[in-house]
Amino acid sequence: MAYVALSEAEKTFILHGVEEDFRCDGRSRRDYRPMELETALVSNASGSARLRLANTDILVGIKTEIDVPDPLTPEFGKLEFFVDCSANATPEFEGRGGSDLAQELVLALENAYESPLAFDYRTLCLIPGQQCWKLYIDILILECGGNLHDAVSLAAKAALHNTKLPRVTASLLDAGVTDLIISDNPYDCTRLTIDTVPLLVTVCKIGDYCLVDPSAEEEVCSTVSIVVSVSMRNGEAFLSGSHMTGGGAMHRDTMRNCLDLGLSIGEQLNTVLAKMLKQEEERVGPKRPKTVGFLK
């Protein structure tokens, strides 16, 4: 994690704030910082989203490619995650400094998206056993202000919602070789369903209390956090991957509390995100005004 130097006094201040359920920035333990979400701002990508969560800034671009499916799962498409920690985020990332963090984020996302129940890989299928879509989800971390897991997963989900796959028609040629014809019309495209796509929620333990959306300073104070990947299906929250991080341990009962908190927050986050994405679509529509400079 990006590293902030804090003195003992500052840490105690943060700890007391958490105990009082009134954090440094005025939030309670269950509150998120304000978020800004924008989609479809990278013209060269099939889908893109930019999320700003207070100081954390994430840009996600999704590129598509046609690939051959895995013989074991002939009806499934493929996803590939790539996280780039740009050196702008913190000076620490210069050179290969960010590679550990990037790898951790990629592993967490891969783990969360692994189950076909979490992400319906069948929607990426073109011809079972022969052709499928492969999505390259490239995540760029522009600024690092804590709680990267949550921000990255939110941005990835929004970008997936925004992804437009060109419509493909297939014609059968000789010898069983199929020829794919990709539609030229940019408006003739299919969208992905993102109802069950998981969101990562980091539940952070500071002192005796659990909280969500830790800022960079709060991350330094935490002893342990658990990253819960929440996927909603038929109105119920499911876990599609979770792990503990931060170098501490916790009791089983504390862990259950953290898990419950993460699940309920994930559920709310999911509803809000879905609502916001719908709202944006209705408000802006396909004919969005030309924006200049997305880094406002």
Binding site: P74, S115, L117, G129, R167, A170, L172, H243, G247, M250
Partner: protein, 329 residues
């Protein structure tokens, strides 16, 4: 999106080639049928047959070898050394680096090895961080290397167990003994300590069968949960050091599997404790013997010095010259 289901090929005289394409998922089905199904609620919560030995290598200070059923793992812990990368420095903590390597013959499918090595290394680091007293080697890094000799499932948990023993052997201070185990659920069957076959089924097939219940046309059909949990715990204060989960589980199932693994951890802890006590005893005996030998040596030296004092130097040298039988004068 258009889907073409290819059925006939005119060139091949109307024979279908589609069937060939689908043989591999069918293999998975056959593989699943060949398994012994433990049912929904396993009754026997115990680890596999386990063999642990500390101090198997003489060249490094901390080493341990563990066999967990057919899974064979070797762990090496070197004493902490100075940080290689200044950027990795933490304010008041040492840094732990874990490297997992597969032996070339450890596993059948080689494609996913680099990926799995990375994943295991990262998870192992996370699991061991809580147990090591990292405040004791500030600005130092502790390198832990794990070599997997044979993969028959439960790799992460076996690696954690083995590293726990190696850490103690190396003399690194730890807060507690760490033990780990895994459990997985697949098609309503709970497999404790899943074998490589079961894990591969879960990972590769990715619950393809599980989708049967998820069709929108039939929402009432029960959802097929699938997933793997690996839990590492420190039982003196009942702390969970790491709980890694993959797959798709409802919270209730998650807690159920977690409790199973915690119970197995408790019995594993007994085994590891016994091994370590035996190791300390063995070491103590060696020390005692060594002490006795060195006492004997001291005594002999003292006798010689005594003689030297009595006889004087010249005479002492003369009496101690022995004729070399092979050299003729």
């Amino acid at each position: 999106m258009l889907r073409v289901t290819q059925t006939k090929n005119t060139l091949l005289d109307g024979a279908t080639i589609a069937e060939d394409l689908y043989t591999t998922p069918k293999d998975c089905e056959e593989c699943f049928d060949s398994l012994e199904l433990p049912g929904k609620n396993p009754t026997k919560l115990c680890p596999r047959s386990t063999f642990v030995r500390a101090g198997v290598l003489t060249t490094v200070r901390g080493s341990a070898y563990m066999e967990y059923g057919n899974t064979k793992v070797l762990a090496i812990v070197a004493p902490p050394h100075e940080l290689m990368r200044a950027s990795a420095r933490r304010m008041n903590m040492g840094v732990i680096n874990c490297f997992v390597n597969f032996a070339a013959f450890a596993t059948g499918e080689l494609e996913s090895v680099p990926e799995r090595e990375k994943h295991l290394g990262s998870m192992l680091t996370k699991a061991l961080e809580p147990v090591v007293c990292r405040t004791e080697f500030l600005n130092f890094q502790l390198d832990i290397r794990v070599l997997i000799l044979d993969d028959d499932g439960c790799l992460l948990s076996t690696a954690i167990n083995c590293c726990g023993v190696a850490l103690v052997e190396c003399g690194i201070s730890t807060y507690d003994l760490i033990t780990a185990s895994s459990a997985c659920i697949y098609r309503d069957n709970v497999f404790l300590n899943p074998s490589a076959k079961e894990e591969e089924l879960l990972r590769k097939h990715r619950g393809g069968h599980a989708l049967a219940g998820s069709d929108n046309s039939n929402p009432t059909a029960a959802l097929q949960e699938h997933g793997l949990i690996t839990t590492a715990s420190m039982d003196t204060f009942e702390q969970v050091a790491q709980c890694q989960q993959a797959g798709y589980l409802s919270p209730a199932t998650y807690v159920k599997l977690l409790d199973y693994t915690l119970t197995i951890n408790k019995s594993l802890r007994q085994i590891i404790r016994r091994v370590l006590t035996a190791r300390v005893k063995e070491q103590h005996e060696l020390d005692v013997r060594e002490k006795a030998e060195s006492a004997l040596e001291d005594q002999r030296l003292a006798e010689i010095i005594e003689r030297l004092k009595q006889q004087g130097l010249d005479e002492f040298i003369q009496t101690n010259i022995k004729e070399d039988p092979f050299v003729k004068r």
